[in-house]
Amino acid sequence: MTAIKVQQLTKTFVTREKQPGLRGSVRALFRPARRETQAVKGITFGVEEGERVAFIGPNGAGKSTTIKMLVGILYPTSGQAQVLGKTPWRERKRLAYEIGTVFGQKSQLWYHLPPADSFDLLARIYELDGVAYRQRLAHLVELFEVGDYLQVPVRKLSLGERMRCEVAASLLHRPRILFLDEPTIGLDVVGKQRIRDLILELNQQEGVTIFLTSHDAGDVEVLCKRAMVINHGEVIYDGRVSTLKRDYIHTKTISLKLGEPWRGFDSPGVQVLKHKGYGVKLEVNTGVVPIEEVVGRLLARYGIVDINVDNPPMEEIIARIYEGGWGDKETRGQGD
């Protein structure tokens, strides 16, 4: 069954502009100058139930605007959308019972109260049956391992702990689609990994459709089978994550602090970005040489004090997609 169907969805924001100075202020008061910004430019796509889709792009690409239209918070300027057979902005409240949302930058938990209180409130808001709610809560508490701080005020939790509670909170009412907007933002590596594992488990156990936005390529790699890349309000790639990875995310950067001063390192697929004393930054083409091999050889030769492996930034991936001419209809792959 189709979970999400979007056709030619467009959102144009109208912003008022003010000329500088007092004259500008006075003029803006009587005849405000308007400027239109097209945040989303006629995008079309479909998502099947149970799919895990990443919706990725740099800041300001139109990701959040799209998600806000899909959950019914934002009215589109034109176009159609159906989420579980409902038009989100017309049937927001009814749709709310069937979808869950996690917005990484905004908490849904009451700051001074323990998470358990927020869960209880949500149970009331979603009109959950008492017994069913307690069973559901027990299950989620076990799965998310949040039992220890269920009674600790949210303000005293670490970001990672809080985020696990946030995701659990959005699942209490058994949503069929989970919208996650930057769920791992600000988390450390371990925290990110845990959230990703949990989301994956949930999708597999309960068949929840996952619709995720992120500007972290790592989220996408681990979590999703299909990725849509959005830039300047347009979908510039829609296909398998594995293809995206093979074609566009085939490099990683490694920042190292070595045990000995840098003397150079020759290997196909490895490019030295910069080096100074004991520190070096390399770009590894993982299509040519696995990252483990490079690290292993460096370890043997220099010893490693500190290491950081990063994905290329979204902007770079997008630049590569444009270079690869993916935007042509003929080459567009289909997500599964």
Binding site: T65, I73, L74, R92, K93, Y97, K106, D117, R124, I125
Partner: protein
Amino acid sequence: MMRYGFVLWTSARQQLAYRAELGMRAISMVLFMGVFMALWTTAFGVSGRAELTGYSLVEMVWYLAMTETITLSSSRVFVEISESVKAGDLAYALARPLSYPFFQVANSLGNSAPRFALNLAVAVAVVGLGMGRVPVLSGAEGAGSLRGLGAFLGMAALALILDALIAVLIGLLAFWIEEVTPVFWIYQKLLFTVGGLFLPLEMFPDWLRRVAEWLPFQFITYVPARAFVTFEPGFVLRAAVGQMGYVAALAALVALVWRRAQRRLVVHGG
């Protein structure tokens, strides 16, 4: 309705976490009432009369204690709403099967309720000490009789609902104007003046009193305090009907404004 009740309950419990703030409120209540008692004792002394427009000194001080109890419990929920509108993070509240403005009304009442309980306790203690007796406890009639207290509690609840609705309206104005705080200041000053916070409506010139009686502001401050001071069934009934009428009217207005706001809902970002 139950759901909104639980929002109120949760919000009230969160409010109790702000212990320092509650403490400061208690202190300001003590200060205000101390000043008022001193001022009106002097004013009555200078005038040489036992009554001013029907209020004795004791009644006057109790009147002020009750108007202060309500206004110091007044909602600041417009801050939260207008900031959410500006920051574009109404998202969470909106992705719920609830009406956002009425969620905020419940949230606001939850904020007000613990403050109200504290303010009332402090006011009764301070004025009771300062004026020599707590009428409710002594079982006497007159200012602060048991019936007066009962009427006051019911009418104060309606007053806080009115206040919450107005605060939500002010918050929603953020959809149209950049800064809503000045609107709140105007509202606050209207409570101070035509609402009868500092002076009961009986002390107004006739024309102003007639105007004030038609406005919603006196239903928030004057009416409950007056019921506490002199309990008259006729007055209480009329005033409560007036309060409920304004609750219905303002709730309808909130719903209307919200529908308009949704039309132009531009959640920034993305």
